[in-house]
C-alpha cells in the first residue's frame, strides 16, 4: 500500500527516562537510620519490622488507590473491609484454636489458610454489596461519596459489634509463626518474614497482571482516561466492580494479617489503620500502585525507626514524612497522568 513519506532516518529515538528517584528514597532512609540507631542488630530488626508493617499496609491500601484511580471514587469505608476480614478470619480460626496451638506446621496452616480464604471471600463479597448499594448511586459526587462511605464505615463498625459483641477478641498467632530465627546477634521474627513474603508476592502478582495482561492494560488505560476506554468498547463499570471486589478482598487479607500481628481483633482497627492507608496513598500519588508500594514501605520503616528513637513522635513522623514528600512532589511520588 501507499507510503508517501520516507521512513525517518538516523535520528535517535527519544530517551525515555523512567522516574527512578522515588525508588532511591527507601535505601536512603534505611542508610540514614543506621548511624542514628547505631546498633546493627537493632537496625536490622527494625528494618524487617518496618518492611513487614509496610507490606501489610500495602495490602490494605492497594485496592483503595486503584479504585480511586479508575473511577475517581474515594472510599472512606475501606476500613470496614479490613475489620470485617479480621473478624471473619478470627471466627474461622478461634474454634480450631487447638490446631493453632499445636506444634505442627501442617495443622497450623490447615487453620490459617481457610481463615485467610474466608476473610478474603467475605470482604470481597461485602465489597461487592458496598459498591452496588452505597457507592454506585453517588458516582462523580465527591462530597456525597465521602459522607456516604464514612456513614457506611460507622454502620459496618456497629454491625460488627452486633455480630461479634462489643469486646476485642484476642487472636494468638499459630505456634509455627511465633518466635524468631536467631542468626548471630540478629533476631528475625518469623511472622514478619511471612508478612514481607506475602506482601511481596501480592505486589509482584499485581505488577504482572497490570503490565502483562490485557486486563491490566485496561486498568492502566482506565486510570488515565475512562471515557476513551469506553469509546473503545469496554465496559469499564464491570472492570471497576472487579477491581473494587479484589481490593476489598485484599483489605480483608491485610486485616487478618494485621490482627495476627497485633494478636487482637477490634472493630475500630480498620479505622485506625485507615489513617496510615491514607498517608500511604497520598504519598504514592493517588491511583498509582507502584507509588503506593513505596509509600507503604516508607511509612512502615519510618514508624519503626522513629518509634525506636523517639517513641512519642511515631505517628507524627508519618505526617511529617507526608508533608516532606508533598513539598517535594505536590501530587505524590508517582502522580497519575490524567486528561
Amino acid at each position: 500500500m501507499t507510503a508517501t513519506v520516507k521512513a525517518a532516518t538516523a535520528d535517535a529515538l527519544p530517551q525515555v527516562r523512567t522516574d527512578r528517584l522515588p525508588l532511591l528514597i527507601l535505601p536512603v532512609v534505611m542508610l540514614l537510620a543506621l548511624p542514628a540507631i547505631f546498633d546493627v542488630p537493632a537496625w536490622l530488626t527494625l528494618t524487617l519490622a518496618g518492611l513487614a508493617m509496610g507490606m501489610m499496609i500495602f495490602l490494605m491500601a492497594s485496592g483503595l488507590t486503584l479504585v480511586f484511580g479508575l473511577m475517581d471514587v474515594l472510599n472512606f469505608g475501606h476500613g470496614a473491609f479490613i475489620s470485617v476480614g479480621a473478624f471473619v478470619g478470627a471466627s474461622v480460626m478461634l474454634p480450631l484454636a487447638a490446631w493453632m496451638q499445636a506444634d505442627s506446621f501442617a495443622l497450623n496452616m490447615a487453620v490459617l489458610l481457610p481463615g485467610i480464604l474466608a476473610a478474603m471471600l467475605v470482604s470481597g463479597a461485602l465489597g461487592y454489596g458496598f459498591e452496588r448499594i452505597v457507592i454506585a448511586p453517588v458516582y462523580g459526587q465527591h462530597l456525597k461519596q465521602i459522607l456516604i462511605t464514612m456513614g457506611g464505615l460507622i454502620v459496618a463498625e456497629q454491625a460488627i459489634h452486633v455480630v461479634w459483641g462489643p469486646d476485642q477478641i484476642p487472636l494468638p498467632r499459630p505456634t509455627s509463626l511465633r518466635g524468631a530465627f536467631i542468626i548471630g546477634d540478629v533476631a528475625i521474627e518469623k511472622y514478619r518474614l511471612l508478612a514481607v513474603a506475602v506482601g511481596l508476592l501480592v505486589f509482584l502478582a499485581m505488577m504482572l497482571v497490570l503490565n502483562r495482561t490485557k486486563l491490566g492494560l485496561l486498568i492502566r488505560a482506565g486510570v488515565e482516561n475512562r471515557e476513551m476506554v469506553e469509546s473503545l468498547g469496554y465496559r469499564i463499570k464491570r472492570l471497576f466492580v472487579g477491581v473494587f471486589v479484589a481490593g476489598s478482598a485484599l483489605a480483608g487479607l491485610g486485616g487478618v494479617m494485621w490482627a495476627l500481628y497485633q494478636e487482637t481483633v477490634t472493630a475500630s482497627m480498620g479505622m485506625q489503620v485507615m489513617v496510615l492507608v491514607f498517608i500511604v496513598i497520598i504519598i504514592g500519588g493517588l491511583g498509582s500502585v507502584g507509588g503506593c508500594f513505596i509509600g507503604a514501605l516508607l511509612v512502615g520503616l519510618t514508624a519503626n525507626y522513629v518509634g525506636f528513637l523517639a517513641p512519642k513522635l511515631a505517628l507524627g513522623s508519618n505526617i511529617l514524612l507526608m508533608v516532606l514528600i508533598l513539598l517535594w512532589r505536590p501530587q505524590g511520588l508517582y502522580p497519575v497522568a490524567r486528561r
Binding site: A3, A7, A221, N225, E227, V229
Partner: protein, 241 residues
C-alpha cells in the same frame, strides 16, 4: 440510493444546565465521507460525543443502521462498529504505542497485514512501537489516535479534527488513509476546520452554527460555489474576530 448508515433526527443535547444542541438533523450516507464543518463552538464536538453516548441526548433520535442508539451506553455503541477519534486524542500516555493499539483491537490479536498498512501510512508508529505514547509529539499522538480507530475494520469512524498540528506530508497520508478506508466500505464522519483538507475528501457536507445545522449538500456543490463558501465559511471567519 441505499439508506444512510447514520441519521440524526432532532438531536438535542444539554451539558449540565446549558442547552448546546438544538435539533441537529443530518444523514451520513453509507460508504461516503461526510464533512461536518462550522466555526469554533458551533457544536461539532458535542454532536460527535452525543453519537458516541458520551453526552446523553436529551431529545431526538440517533439512527445507526436504522436502529435508535440514543440511550445506549458508550461501550455498546462502540461495539456496534463505531470508532471515535476525539479532539483531545485521548491516547493512553502511560501505555506504549503497541499497548494502545492492542487495546484498540478489541476482537483479538493485532493483524499483521493491517499493521503493515498502518506503518506504511504512519511510519512513526513503527519507530515508536515500544515507547510510552506519552513521549510522542503532538502530531504523532494524532496519528496514534487515528491508528487506534482503524486498527480493526469498523463500519463508521467519527473523527474530530485529525489534521490539527500535522505536517503537510502526514496530512497527505491521512487523506490517503481515509480514501482507502472508504474503498474498504468504512463510512466516515469527519469534523474539520481546514477547508482544503475537507475539499479533497468530502462527498457530502453539513455545516453547523450555534448548535444547529445551517447547510446540507454535496461537497462538489460547495466547492464550486464561491458565494456559498463565502456565506457559510466567511461567516465562520467573521465569528472568529
Amino acid at each position: 440510493m441505499s439508506e444512510p448508515i447514520l441519521s440524526l433526527r432532532g438531536l438535542n443535547t444539554h451539558i449540565a444546565q446549558y442547552h448546546i444542541l438544538h435539533g441537529v438533523e443530518f444523514d451520513v450516507p453509507r460508504g461516503q465521507l461526510t464533512m461536518l464543518l462550522g466555526r469554533n463552538g458551533a457544536g461539532k464536538t458535542t454532536t460527535l460525543r452525543s453519537i458516541m453516548g458520551l453526552w446523553r441526548a436529551s431529545a431526538g433520535e440517533i439512527l445507526f443502521e436504522g436502529r435508535n442508539i440514543a440511550g445506549l451506553s458508550t461501550p455498546e455503541i462502540a461495539r456496534l462498529g463505531i470508532a471515535y477519534v476525539p479532539e483531545s486524542m485521548a491516547i493512553f500516555a502511560d501505555l506504549t504505542v503497541k499497548e494502545n493499539l492492542v487495546l484498540a483491537a478489541r476482537n483479538g490479536p493485532l493483524d499483521g497485514a493491517r499493521l503493515d498498512w498502518l506503518f506504511g501510512l504512519f511510519p512513526a508508529m513503527k519507530r515508536f512501537w515500544t515507547l510510552p505514547a506519552g513521549v510522542l509529539s503532538g502530531g504523532q499522538k494524532q496519528m496514534l489516535a487515528v491508528s487506534r480507530a482503524i486498527v480493526e475494520p469498523r463500519k463508521l469512524l467519527l473523527v474530530d479534527e485529525p489534521s490539527k498540528g500535522l505536517a503537510p506530508s502526514i496530512i497527505a497520508n491521512m487523506i490517503t488513509a481515509f480514501r482507502e478506508l472508504k474503498q474498504g466500505d468504512t463510512t466516515i464522519l469527519l469534523v474539520e476546520q481546514n477547508f482544503n483538507f475537507a475539499r479533497q475528501l468530502g462527498d457530502s457536507v453539513a455545516v453547523m452554527d450555534d448548535g444547529r445545522i445551517v447547510h446540507r449538500g454535496s461537497m462538489a456543490a460547495l466547492a464550486s460555489d464561491a458565494g456559498l463558501q463565502q456565506k457559510l465559511l466567511g461567516l465562520s471567519l467573521d465569528a472568529h474576530q
